[in-house]
């Protein structure tokens, strides 16, 4: 059984300067309640890893707006002009990485691999300063594993043991991030008893999950 905590308790676990992965794609499939609690926490100097920076004051953009983030690692920030302004001013560091490489770097960390060998970005300025490895006369760009102190995830459904099920395009980075952080906290839309989810429908085994956020309104329906 995993502990069921409040979004505020989740935010309280995360210290200043922590590296935090956040699931979602433009806020779709993001743990908005935990993000909100973290945005209101007064935390500083977080490194946030996610697909994108959401929109201004929405999704990961909420953490940018509240000054919680010192650095953003993402593949796309085009819909968040607030972050782009910070980036050009130098007040928030932004590391841009191709989306597929980002996903694979997180997987490498989570699954004990030494990194990623990809053609993506090879020969472009996005590969400047990065290691190129030649294998049988062919060049591959090396991208290192990417891990975090915390992963903050969304799921459609969890069981008491933390088995997670995602739905449609709210899946995105959530499953891979579940593998690559020291502490994994998931905000499911619903929590069901163990055994309700078929083993074949579990997307993330509960062994990867440390905490679930509790229902928003735990009143008994009677």
């Amino acid at each position: 059984m995993k502990p069921a905590i409040t979004p505020e308790q989740a935010a309280d676990m995360i210290p200043n300067g922590a590296v935090v992965m956040i699931g979602g794609f433009m806020g779709v499939g993001s743990p908005h309640r935990i993000i909100d609690a973290l945005a209101r926490s007064g935390r500083k100097d977080l490194t946030i890893i996610g697909n994108d920076a959401g929109r201004p004051n929405y999704g990961i953009g909420r953490l940018v707006h509240e000054g919680v983030a010192r650095k953003i690692v993402a593949s796309h920030i085009g819909l968040n002009p607030e972050l782009q302004k910070h980036m050009f001013e130098g007040s928030i560091e932004v590391e841009l990485t191709p989306q597929g490489t980002l996903a694979e770097r997180i997987r490498a960390a989570g699954f004990g691999l030494g990194g990623v060998l990809t053609k993506t970005a090879l020969g472009t300025i996005a590969a400047d300063g990065q290691k190129v490895i030649e294998i049988d006369g062919e060049e591959w760009l090396y991208a290192p594993p990417l891990r975090a102190d915390f992963a903050l995830l969304h799921a459609d459904r969890a069981d008491f043991n933390g088995n997670l099920v995602y739905q449609l395009t709210a899946t995105n980075f959530n499953p891979v991030m579940a593998t690559a952080a020291a502490t994994v906290i998931c905000e499911p839309r619903e929590i069901v008893p163990v055994g309700v989810i078929s083993p074949d429908h579990v997307n993330t085994p509960g062994v990867l999950v440390d905490y679930l956020t509790r229902r928003e309104a735990p009143d008994d329906p009677r």
Partner: protein
Amino acid sequence: MTPVEIIQRRVARELRPGTLVNLGIGLPTGVAHYIDPTAGILFQSENGIVGMGSRPPEGMEDEELTDAGGVFTTAVPGAATVDSTFSFGLIRGGHVDATVLGGLEVDEDGHLANWVVPGKMAPGMGGAMDLVSGARRVIVAMQHTAKGRPKIVPKCTLPLTAVRRITLVVTDLAVIEPTDEGLVLRERAPAVDVAEIVAATSAKLIVADEVPEMAL
């Protein structure tokens, strides 16, 4: 027919029956309107769906079903949901037959620049670099010029999206194929003559005696 519709209609004819296709945000997205719905073409949205449909009816939107721009979409019967590692596995592994992307510049080497204007615009490459490196065919769909300035140039001045040569450029004026010999003018848009295309292109074009008009 608007310039955008010309591009979208012509690109639609490049898509092969029964294949997986990724359409970029913006102009490329509209290509989906012009395909044969019986051809079994599936659209991938790289945020995690194989078999993306069109916009949902009002009131039927699902907050957990959006396209790569974060806009509500639908799934066709037979669609499959995948996570980001799988989605980009399909892209990198050559399982996407064609990607259609916008362009800022294409040059005589067939290189594409479409992700950054240093000092001005740095939205990030998103999935573009993976798509241009990994899709079996890369089709650039763009206006032939921007504010009167040619976008098909001798050498890209903007940072490249990939060092790989793209497959085809489709504009409102022409269809151009990058080859070992250089950029070959394959087709001209209806009522557009070759001289007009050459004038709107700063790159060297290889022009045959007869350049057919686009079928749309």
